[in-house]
């Protein structure tokens, strides 16, 4: 049982590579591994390699990389928030970051600003996430405990959901409503390297901030007072995790829309395999989140025929029953 977590990480990396390979292969045009290498290395040789190169570079590779970035962000944010709040039900959606980012995007669609510039929608979504973060940091600065932070996040999330509903309710036209709803459901379709370029610096900064708080999260296992007596600056740690989550998840939501359950299910699924250490869970959840989202994306591409199934719907369909089973299993084990 002891020291099995490095093996878990190696296993997750291998799984991720295999899923990446499958993700690049499947689609209306099936590309074999040798064709894939040929298309990426000698793209100008024949019209077929040129076509394969275009499909890979313009469509499948951005989709693959974005799935991995979003999955990793959601997974690691969920693990960090669960460690900080010492609550296995915490996830990025809980603290209101995802819903405030969603609200920012909906406001942009409501006023038709997204037609002015392609950058405006993600920028507004990130502004929503930033606003939520500033508010939570302000609450955290006043030495608020974990429970206050959770409840504030829930209140913020509910407010953002209510305002989003209001925007849908008062939408100028049915087409606008459809735009907003489709965006809120979350998708990786038709995303390009421009989207990755937009979110990558924020995601990377967020991931670095979250990865560097492992030892302090371990100390929180002892309770807030004893962790502080070990030199953990609790308000600073809260800020670091909130800002890290807002940057990584906010930037991802800004380009893909809201995708739920990954941040909740992945840490829960992997916790036993890292011997319940919050620090070890961070990297494993990032890898696991990337793998799960890639798997969900592959599943929806295989299932979609004429009408696209949205990624947020697939993750919720896989995640929610799975999470319920995990919770019930735990309950039975305790009984």
């Amino acid at each position: 049982m002891y020291r099995r977590y490095p093996l878990l990480n190696y296993g997750l990396v291998i799984l991720l590579l295999l899923l990446a390979m499958v993700s690049l292969r499947i689609g209306p045009v099936s590309i074999s591994v040798s064709d894939m290498i040929n298309a990426l290395v000698n793209s100008q040789e024949t019209s077929q390699t040129l076509r394969h190169n275009l499909i890979l570079i313009e469509l499948r590779l951005p989709r693959l990389l974005l799935a991995m970035l979003v999955g990793a962000s959601l997974g690691i944010s969920g693990a960090a928030l669960q460690g900080l709040l010492r609550n296995p039900l915490a996830e990025p959606g809980l603290i209101g970051v995802s819903s405030c980012a969603g609200l920012g995007a909906v406001i942009c669609l409501y006023f038709g600003l997204s037609t002015l510039s392609m950058w405006l929608l993600p920028t507004m979504a990130m502004a929503g996430a930033t606003l939520a973060t500033l508010l939570l940091c302000w609450i955290g600065r006043h030495h608020a405990g974990s429970l206050t932070l959770i409840l504030s996040g829930i209140a913020l999330s509910s407010l953002a959901a209510a305002l989003t509903s209001l925007a849908l309710n008062l939408a100028p036209s049915p087409a606008d409503v459809q735009d907003m709803v489709l965006w809120l459901l979350g998708s990786l379709n038709y995303r390009s390297f421009n989207d990755i370029q937009l979110c990558f610096p924020f995601v990377l900064t967020g991931l670095v901030l979250l990865m560097s708080c492992g030892a302090k999260l371990d100390a929180l296992t002892l309770g807030e007072a004893e962790a502080q007596s070990l030199g953990v600056n609790l308000p600073k740690l809260q800020r670091q995790i909130i800002v890290g989550t807002a940057l990584s998840v906010g930037a991802c939501v800004a380009v893909t829309g809201t995708i739920g359950f990954v941040g909740l299910v992945v840490p829960h699924l992997l916790r036993r395999w890292v011997d319940y250490h919050p620090s070890r869970l961070l990297l494993s959840s990032a890898l696991g989140g990337a793998a799960l989202l890639l798997l969900a994306d592959i599943a929806l591409r295989l299932l979609s025929s004429t009408q696209e199934i949205m990624l947020g719907v697939v993750t919720a369909l896989i995640g929610a029953p799975f999470f319920l089973i995990l919770v019930l299993q735990q309950k039975w084990r305790l009984a």
Binding site: D218, G223, S229, L230, G231, H277
Partner: protein, 272 residues
């Protein structure tokens, strides 16, 4: 006793929501001393311990090893004072050995140094042996009994290896055997060169194992000094509202709280 006290507190005031919790408490603790902090519920014992551990804002000055604690960075402070909270729920069910190892966090400045790691594991092993739980070091903390978990928490505090140990009611959930074992351990640790403050409700344990006692009531010091000077019938009646039986066995005092002072009145009147 060395010239510089391990801990000195001068006129410590704590106010919470405009209510005075501590009203000017002072103390001086030298190397090798074990101080028992006594008082009824709500006397301010835990608040004083938290102020000493720098976990809440206070007025006045607290110095450890001659340094004003408000000037010392948190990570350095963590290497001076180990603090054990009154009660804490088990968080994630990590193994006993890993739980105790969390006490080494303040020393892990350079986590990549192998020498540090080796010493950390030695310190953890020693702390687990000191509380007599070597056989359980692989077990998840969630599967321990209340008494075993209390000892694991103590081992975590010991693993920090600080000159000062603050423990808030460390024996309140232990059976008599382990109460005596843990108090003996505190006394031994102090004899080996540390200093400690323990909050206790058991007056006999306080009298037998502590070098000095401090009796608090309503945020103020009522009495301070040798156990015999502090645990007098008059003090116990004034602070705890109880009459106690004081006796002697093997030249050591034992104190048994025997009856409430307002025994003549009915319970309803007493709690009204």
């Amino acid at each position: 006793m060395s010239a510089t006290p391990v801990l000195s507190a001068d006129n410590v005031f704590v106010e919470q929501q405009k209510r005075r919790i501590l009203g000017g408490i002072s103390l001086c603790l030298h190397k090798g001393e074990l101080l028992g902090l006594l008082g009824p519920n709500g006397a301010g014992k835990s608040t004083f311990m938290k102020a000493l551990a720098q976990l809440l804002p206070y007025r006045g000055e607290i110095r450890c090893m001659g340094r004003s604690l408000q000037q010392v960075p948190a990570i350095e402070r963590a290497r001076l004072i180990a603090y054990l909270e009154q009660s804490v729920q088990t968080g994630w069910p990590i193994a006993v050995r890993d739980y105790v190892a969390l006490g080494r966090l303040p020393h892990r400045l350079a986590w990549y140094r192998n020498g540090h790691r080796n010493y950390d594991s030695k310190a953890v092993k020693m702390a687990i042996e000191q509380v007599g739980l070597s056989s359980l070091d692989d077990r998840p903390v969630s599967e321990l009994s209340g008494g075993e978990f209390a000892r694991v928490r103590l081992a975590r505090a010991l693993a920090v290896q600080t000159p000062l140990l603050l423990a808030d009611e460390p024996v309140s959930v232990l059976d008599p055997f382990h109460q005596l074992q843990v108090m003996e351990l505190f006394r031994q640790l102090c004899r080996d060169g540390r200093a400690g403050i323990v909050v206790l409700h058991d007056l006999t344990l306080a009298s037998r194992f502590c070098d000095r006692l401090m009796l608090l009531d309503k945020g103020r010091t009522v009495a301070s000094g040798m156990p015999r000077q502090v645990l007098t019938p008059a003090n116990l009646q004034q602070v705890y509202q109880v009459q106690a039986m004081v006796g002697e066995h093997q030249q050591q005092s034992y104190i048994l709280p025997w009856s409430c002072c307002n025994e003549g009145s009915s319970n309803e009147e007493k709690y009204r």
